[in-house]
């Protein structure tokens, strides 16, 4: 039996060389967003990268269902979109929906980081004592014994949180006569004249996605609310989301103002105060009662 003939080998080599050139050109073009259009022309497309904080969320673009997130796949890359404005929606049963109109640019991926808070967030009261009726006793100098309830350390921590004007989620606070400033990493949020202004003071290369559209970036983002902002802080674990206290309740507001900002309700009532704990939980104070929020 003869070895592979030289003629065959030259044929394979030539064939594969041609395939290499064609496939490389095609794949590089495809990878950068070029697509054949229906009219056999070439269109230059872009896409969205949509993340979801939880599994079981339905992601739709322009009314078309894209995917349902799961434990292993919590994001979706939507390609082949011609440059235009698209409606993106992320919904999940029992959660408030998130909708955004965003632009697609050629060769670019527009990021979207939705959030979803339960339609009826559960408020769990933080009690001062572990168990009602559980007492410790102490005896004073004259020998009188008194029973005390054992105070929960969690309660003490939360109570202390509300005793200060700041939360303990890593952000820093600066209060002056005219404004309140909160800083998280290189993000600065300034409350001034009943509005919030979010600025980036870090390296331009690390600027959060919502400051930029295509290659054009803004210096700051304004957040306008329906009523006076009584208090605000960064949403736990997010640098694109704020928790704000308004006259009508406590809300999560996204900083991203590339289109109308999404606002979702955490708790609706008057005279509510909130703090963000170092454990990533949001606490609410209503009257003298303290609550943790399951969102």
């Amino acid at each position: 039996m003869q070895p592979l003939s030289r003629k065959k080998r030259i044929f394979y080599f030539s064939l594969f060389s041609v395939i290499f050139v064609i496939a490389t050109l095609f794949l590089v073009s495809y990878a950068t967003g070029y697509r054949l259009s229906n009219t056999l022309g070439v269109s230059h497309t872009g896409g969205f990268y949509v993340t979801s904080v939880s599994s079981g969320s339905n992601i739709s673009v322009a009314g078309k269902f894209i995917t349902k997130t799961n434990l292993f796949q919590r994001s979706a890359l939507v390609q082949n979109l011609k440059p235009a404005t698209y409606d993106i929606s992320v919904t999940k049963d029992g959660y408030q929906s998130w909708n955004k109109k965003l632009l697609v640019f050629p060769e670019r991926v527009t990021e979207a980081h939705p959030f979803a808070i339960k339609q009826n967030p559960v408020l769990t009261q933080v009690f001062p004592y572990f168990v009602e009726g559980d007492y410790a006793s102490s005896t004073d100098l004259v020998g009188t014994t008194t029973k005390h309830g054992i105070i929960s350390s969690d309660y003490t921590d939360v109570k202390n949180l509300f005793a200060t004007t700041t939360s303990s989620n890593g952000s820093t606070l600066l209060v002056t006569a005219t404004s309140t400033t909160k800083t998280l990493r290189k993000l600065v949020v300034v409350e001034s004249k009943d509005s919030l202004k979010v600025s980036w003071i870090g390296n331009a290369d690390e600027e959060p996605y919502y400051f930029c559209q295509n290659d054009t970036c803004k210096d700051s983002v304004d957040i306008v609310t329906k009523s006076r902002v009584k208090n605000f802080d960064f949403f736990p674990g997010r640098d694109d989301l704020l928790v704000v206290s308004l006259d009508s309740g406590i809300f999560a507001i996204e900083i991203d103002n590339r289109s109308e900002q999404n606002i979702q309700t955490i708790a609706e009532d008057k005279n509510l105060e909130f703090r963000v704990g170092s454990n990533g939980l949001i606490y609410i104070k209503k009257g003298q009662n303290l609550y943790s929020v399951s969102i």
């Binding site: 070895p3 394979y12 990878a31 950068t32 497309t45 390609q79 060769e107 670019r108 990021e111 996605y209």
Partner: protein, 512 residues
């Protein structure tokens, strides 16, 4: 002056030369490592400063790699069919109309500290081979450095097989000879000369009619190996201008070797099988055969370097002004897969063995220097051979690293601006998908590997067959850890002039 008469014909390293020759040789030693490092570091730097260009390059490289895999698989599959055909062929019948009783086979079996059992198995396979043993000379080439063990092995073999071959002799290579590096090259060169003085000349054998097979000590010849080799020798256009290369199977202890060893061994076999279909890329490797006349003309194997098995081909190539080739005989010999008492030690041995093989890169400066010096070699032969060989060493050291490690680099290093492009999202997906498609080729690998396995040992359960298939998922790991990294290691050592010595792969048998 003939090239083999020049002072630099058997140069081992740059420091053996002086003046401009030394500088030139040193630059050629630096070149392969530099090329590999420039490729890897260049891709990293490109990923930082020009991530889009890096991404284009990686996509092109992915496609290149996939097509190369398919291209090589075609060669592998053809050689698989050819080996099966050659194994089923009756070579005695094929030789029946030919005159070959004038030929003599000389088998040089060098040994060091290997056990009697290993030498015995190899010699037994020679005795069992279908060839007129009167026409076979066995040279047991021992090392004086191991003293008593050398004598014990030789005495055992001489006593057991003394009457089974035309001639059997024992040679003892003296330790610490000046200008020699301890290793197989110096041993078999000494043994060949001893055989000439003690056998060929006294028996008035024509050097042209003696076929020398330089075997590794664990080489077990298949029964018709020498008949097959004889046929190829007789049908070669000019048998004095070719070497004969069998396919090394690592089957001797394959059922006892761990998965990483089996995959590494199988991959080495597959590489040799592909090369058998691309003889212009083939240099002699491990066990090989060549006429005594060709060896004698150039003074046998080089004694001052490690990779004597490949160097002998380049010696002959330069000595014959490029008119020398390797004939791939597509017939197997069986050798040992790496096996040590512990898995860790096996892994270390595989790494060291592959680094020694990759140290074959020391031949690159040798023949490139020879191409510059030897004006009698046709220019096109020089260019073609240089490109083919440089690409081979470059591929070995860089391709697996590029494929398995660098695909994500522009995404990690390219910065936020690049990470907002659709290209940055597609790049990892493309690399992953191309890898998956390429991995489908492993089905072929598994099928070929299984088809050449020796009989299932009685003490192994039938389930032992499954790991022989499943093991191939280790390929991305083994070709990086036991292919690219030792390749890069060897090239880097050569680049910095940290020359390697000969490392003898320990032979261990575990018959549990």
């Amino acid at each position: 002056m003939r090239y083999q008469d020049t002072s630099y014909f058997k140069v081992g390293r740059a420091s053996d030369l002086s003046g401009n020759d030394r500088v030139l040789y040193r630059l050629l030693e630096i070149m392969p490592g530099l090329l590999s490092w420039v490729t890897i570091l260049g891709t990293i730097l490109l990923s930082i400063f020009a991530p889009v260009a890096a991404a284009y390059f990686i996509i092109a490289f992915d496609v290149f790699w996939l097509l190369k895999t398919i291209y090589l698989s075609i060669h592998l599959r053809h050689n698989w069919k050819r080996i099966k055909y050659n194994l089923s062929e009756d070579w005695a019948e094929k030789l029946s109309g030919m005159k070959y009783d004038h030929l003599t086979h000389m088998i040089i079996l060098p040994f060091y500290k290997e056990s009697i059992e290993i030498v015995d198995q190899s010699v037994e396979s020679l005795r069992a081979s279908q060839y007129d043993k009167r026409k076979m000379i066995l040279v047991l080439a021992g090392e004086g450095a191991v003293g008593k063990h050398n004598e014990e092995v030789a005495n055992y073999i001489l006593k057991k097989y003394g009457n089974d071959f035309g001639t059997i002799i024992h040679t003892t290579h003296p330790a610490h000879l000046e200008g020699e590096m301890p290793g197989k090259g110096s041993n078999i060169a000494y043994a060949a000369e001893q055989a000439r003085l003690r056998i060929l000349d006294p028996q008035h054998l024509d050097y042209h009619t003696v076929i020398v097979s330089a075997f590794d000590v664990d080489t077990v010849a298949y029964t018709q190996y020498f008949l097959c080799l004889t046929w190829y020798f007789l049908t070669a256009k000019d048998p004095m201008k070719v070497s004969f290369q069998p396919v090394p199977f690592y089957n001797n202890n394959i059922w006892n070797a761990p998965a990483i060893s089996r995959v590494a061994a199988g991959s080495s076999t597959f590489w040799q099988m592909m090369q058998q279909e691309r003889p212009e890329k083939l240099a002699t490797f491990s066990s090989h055969s060549v006429s005594f006349q060709a060896l004698y003309e150039i003074g046998y194997w080089q004694k001052n370097m490690v990779s004597e098995d490949s160097r002998i081909f380049w010696n002959l190539f330069l000595a014959h002004n490029g008119d020398y080739a390797v004939v791939p005989i597509s017939y197997p010999v069986s050798m040992d897969a790496n096996l040590a008492p512990t898995l860790r030690q096996t892994a270390v041995n595989i790494y060291k063995q592959h680094r020694r093989w990759a140290w074959g890169v020391e031949n690159l400066p040798y023949f490139l220097f020879g191409f510059i010096k030897n004006k009698s070699i046709p220019l096109w032969t020089k260019i073609r051979t240089s490109i083919v060989q440089i690409e081979g060493f470059w591929s070995l050291a860089t391709n697996p690293i590029m494929i398995f490690l660098l695909g994500w680099l522009p995404v990690v290093l390219g910065g936020s601006r690049f990470n907002k492009t659709i290209l940055s999202y597609n790049l990892p997906m493309f690399t992953r998908n191309i890898m998956i498609v390429a991995m489908l080729g492993l089905v072929l690998s598994a099928a070929i590997f299984i088809s050449f396995l020796p009989d299932h040992p009685k003490n192994k359960k039938i389930f032992a067959n499954f790991p022989m298939v499943l093991q191939w998922v280790l390929i991305p790991f083994t070709i990086t850890i036991f292919g690219a990294i030792p390749g890069l290691d060897a090239q880097t050592r050569l680049m910095f002039g940290k020359y390697m010595g000969f490392w003898v792969t320990p032979k261990h048998r575990n018959d549990k």
